[in-house]
Amino acid sequence: MKRLVIGIVAVAAMTLSLAACSGTTNTASGGKPTVTLWVDTPRVPQAKAYQKLMAGKQNIKIEVISQADAQTKIALHNRTKSGWPDVIFGSAPDTAQFLDPSNGFAADLTKLVSKKIFDGFGAANSDCKFDGKYYCLKNDLANTVLWYNTKVFKELNLTVPKTMDEFAATALKLRGTGYSAGAIGDQNYYASFLQPSGCPLAAMPKKNTVRIAPSDPKCTRVAELVQPLLDAGVVDKRSNFDAGFIKDVAQKDKVAMTFGPSWFGDFVIKPAASWGVPAGEIAAANMPAWGSKPDNMSGAWGGGVFTVSAHAKFPQAAADAAVWMTTSDAMATADTTPTFPAYGPANKLWEKRISADPYYASNPYPAMAAGANNISQVDRPVRFAFNAQIGSALQVDINSGKSLEAALNSFADSLQKLAPSSGYTVISK
C-alpha cells in the first residue's frame, strides 16, 4: 500500500511540475500584443510578410497547419480550453462550425472590421455572413470556369459553348478523336456541375434547417446531361489528379476542355509534373449557363477564409491581422499569392499579374472575374463534413463506375444522415 501511495504521489508531482513548465511558455512577452496565426502552407509567405511588417510593434507567431485539419485542431483546443490561435485559415464550413455555440471559437467581426473593408469585398465575402453578421474574411475565390485548349478547338473547328446543352454537344463531337472533355471523378462533379446547376445539397431555408434534395429537377438534370457524355467516353470518370488520367490523357495534351476552378490553370494544367500542357494553348471562358439568368451560375472548389478567435487576448490586433492577410497590396502582388483574391482592390492588383502571364493563349482573368461575381449561393457552408462526404461517397461511386444518379443519391443519403448529429433538421424533398 505504501508503494501505491508513493506511486500516486510521484505521478502527481510529475504532472504538476510539467504543467508548471508548459504554463510559462504561453504568457505574452513584455506588453507587446502577441497574435498567433494558423495558416496552411501557401499562406505562409503572406503571414511572414505581416510578421516583418509588425516587427517591434506586435509579436506575430506563425503555425503551419493543413487546411483540412482546422476543425479538428480547434476541437482539440476547445477540449483543453487553451492554446487557441488568434486567427486561423480554413474554409467557410469550418467557420460555420466555429460560430456554433457548442464550439464558440469564432468571433463576430462585424464591429471589429471597418465597413470600408466589407464594402471592398462586396458579394465575395457572402460565405462569411451568417444570420446577418460576419464571422470570417474570405481569402480567395475558387470559382469554376471553362478551361479550353485553343489549339485543339481550332484543329477540330469547335466553338466555345455558351450553354450546357452546347457544352454537351461540343463534348460529343470529341467522340472518337481521342480528346477528352475533362474528368469529373473528384470534387469537380460537385463544384462544376451540381453546384452551378443549383442542386440543393446543403441549402438552408432557415437557421439550423438544411435541405438536401437529390430529386430536385436541378439535380436530376445534371445526371441527364452528363451521363451520356460519360457513357460516350468523352468525360472521364477518373479524378483530375489520377495518375492514370494524367499519364494517358492530360500529359498527352488530350484535354480539349474541362471545367475547373480558377486555380486549375496555374496549378493543375501548367506545371510539368502535373498536366504539363504547353504554353500558348490554354484559355478560360465563362461557365456555360444551364438556363437564362439567374440560372447561369458558377460553382466553387476551394476558397479559404480567415476566422478570428473569440478567445483572443487582443481582439482588435487579431482582427487587423486577418484583415491584412486578406486585403493588403503586399499579399496581392507577391509572387507567392496563389489564387484569385476575394478582396476587390487586392484583386485588381492580382489581375495585372495573371493578365500578363504569357502562358495563357488569351487573358483568363475576365472569365474568372465573371464567375467570381456569380457563384451559386444555393448551398451554404454547413457544420457537418460536407466536403469529406464528396470524397467518401460521391467521388468513390463515380470512380467505380456507378451511375451519376446512384452516386448522387448515396452522397445525399449520407449527408441526410450526417446533418442531424450537427444539430440540423433535414428536409429531403
Binding site: 508503494r3 501505491l4 508513493i6 506511486g7 500516486i8 510521484a10 505521478v11 510529475m14 493543413s66 483540412a68 476543425q71 479538428t72 476541437a75 482539440l76 476547445n78 477540449r79 462550425q97 457548442s102 464550439n103 471523378g185 473528384d186 470518370k237 477518373r238 479524378s239 489520377d242 495518375a243 492514370g244 499519364k247 457537418f384 463534413a385 466536403n387 469529406a388 462526404q389 464528396i390 470524397g391 467518401s392 461517397a393 467521388q395 468513390v396 470512380n399 467505380s400 449520407s414 444522415k417 450526417l418 442531424p420 448529429s421 450537427s422 444539430g423
Partner: protein
C-alpha cells in the same frame, strides 16, 4: 521499486478507462441530456455498421493469412541452416520498417499501375488504372496487405525462435522412426508451437480491430475521403473531433476496449499460455 511502473500503470492504464467511462456520459448535439444513450447512438450511427463490416472483412483476410503464412514460412525457414537462414530472416524483417506513413507511401506507389515496380504483373492481371485498385470494395484487401507485410516478418522470426526451443531429442526420435521433413513439420513441430500461434492470432486480432493509420492517411492525402470513417477507430476519431461528440467517441472506444479486454482475459485464463508464470493459482 515497482513505484514508477505502478504510477504509469495507474496513470495510463487505469485512469484513462475511468476517464472514458465518465466522458462517455457527456451530452452532445444529438443527445443533449447525455447519459448511456451515447452508447446506443454510437452503435446506431449510419457509419457504424459499414465500419464494423469493413473491419470484419479486414480481420477475416488479415488474421488467417498471418497465421497460415507465418506458421508456414517459419516451418520452411527452420529447414534451412547457416548463412542462408540468417540472410532470409534479415530479408523478412525489412518490410517491418515500413509502417504507418511510409507504408502508405510505398504501397501507393506499389499499387499504382503507372508507377509500380510490379506494373508488368499488374498489367498481366488486366489492371492498368489506379482506379481499378483504389476503390472502396478493395480497401479491406489493400489494408490487409499493408498490415500483413508490416507484421509478418517479425512474427516469422519470432515463431522461428519458438521452433528453436523444440528439443532436439524429440526431432531425432522422429527421424529414427522414419518421419520425413514434411511429417516432422506437420505432426511434430506445428503442434508444439501451436499455442504460440494461437497467442499470436489473438494479438493480431486485437491489433487489427484497432486499424487506424492506413485508412486515415490514405483519406487525408492520396485519395481524399476514400477511406474516411472506414474503421471503427476512425469513426471514434470523427465523433470526437469533427462532430464535437466526445461522449460518443469515448463510448465507442470503451466498447472496443472491452472487446479487447475480454480477449485478453480469455487468453490468460482459458489458454495454457501463461501457465507457470505465477498468474494462475495452482
Amino acid at each position: 521499486m515497482i513505484a514508477p511502473y505502478l504510477a504509469l500503470l495507474i496513470a495510463f492504464g487505469v485512469v484513462p478507462i475511468i476517464v472514458a467511462a465518465v466522458t462517455s456520459m457527456e451530452p452532445s448535439a444529438l443527445n443533449p441530456g447525455g447519459g448511456p444513450l451515447n452508447y446506443l447512438q454510437a452503435l446506431q450511427d449510419f457509419r457504424f455498421l459499414p465500419a464494423l463490416g469493413n473491419v470484419g472483412v479486414f480481420l477475416l483476410l488479415y488474421v488467417p493469412t498471418m497465421l497460415i503464412v507465418v506458421a508456414g514460412m517459419s516451418l520452411l525457414l527452420d529447414t534451412v541452416r547457416g548463412r542462408w537462414n540468417v540472410s532470409l530472416r534479415l530479408a523478412y524483417i525489412v518490410p517491418a520498417s515500413l509502417t504507418g506513413a511510409s507504408a502508405v507511401l510505398v504501397w501507393y506507389f506499389l499499387l499504382e499501375p503507372t508507377l509500380s515496380p510490379y506494373q508488368d504483373i499488374l498489367r498481366a492481371l488486366g489492371i492498368t488504372q489506379g482506379g481499378q485498385i483504389w476503390r472502396s470494395e478493395n480497401l479491406a484487401w489493400i489494408f490487409a496487405l499493408m498490415a500483413f507485410f508490416t507484421g509478418a516478418g517479425n512474427w516469422i522470426v519470432v515463431q522461428y525462435g519458438s521452433l528453436q526451443s523444440i528439443s532436439e531429442d524429440i526431432l531425432e526420435a522422429a527421424r529414427i522412426d522414419g518421419a520425413n521433413a514434411w511429417q516432422i513439420g506437420w505432426h511434430i513441430k506445428l503442434p508444439l508451437i501451436q499455442k504460440y500461434i494461437v497467442y499470436m492470432g489473438i494479438l493480431v486480432f486485437a491489433a487489427g480491430l484497432q486499424v487506424f493509420v492506413e485508412p486515415q492517411l490514405i483519406s487525408s492525402s492520396v485519395y481524399p475521403g476514400l477511406a474516411a470513417n472506414w474503421s471503427l477507430n476512425q469513426l471514434s476519431y470523427s465523433f470526437a473531433f469533427q462532430s464535437n461528440n466526445l461522449g460518443g467517441a469515448a463510448a465507442l472506444s470503451l466498447m472496443l476496449l472491452i472487446v479487447c479486454i475480454v480477449g485478453a482475459v480469455f487468453v490468460i485464463f482459458r489458454t495454457d499460455f501463461f501457465e507457470g508464470s505465477g498468474v494462475k493459482e495452482k
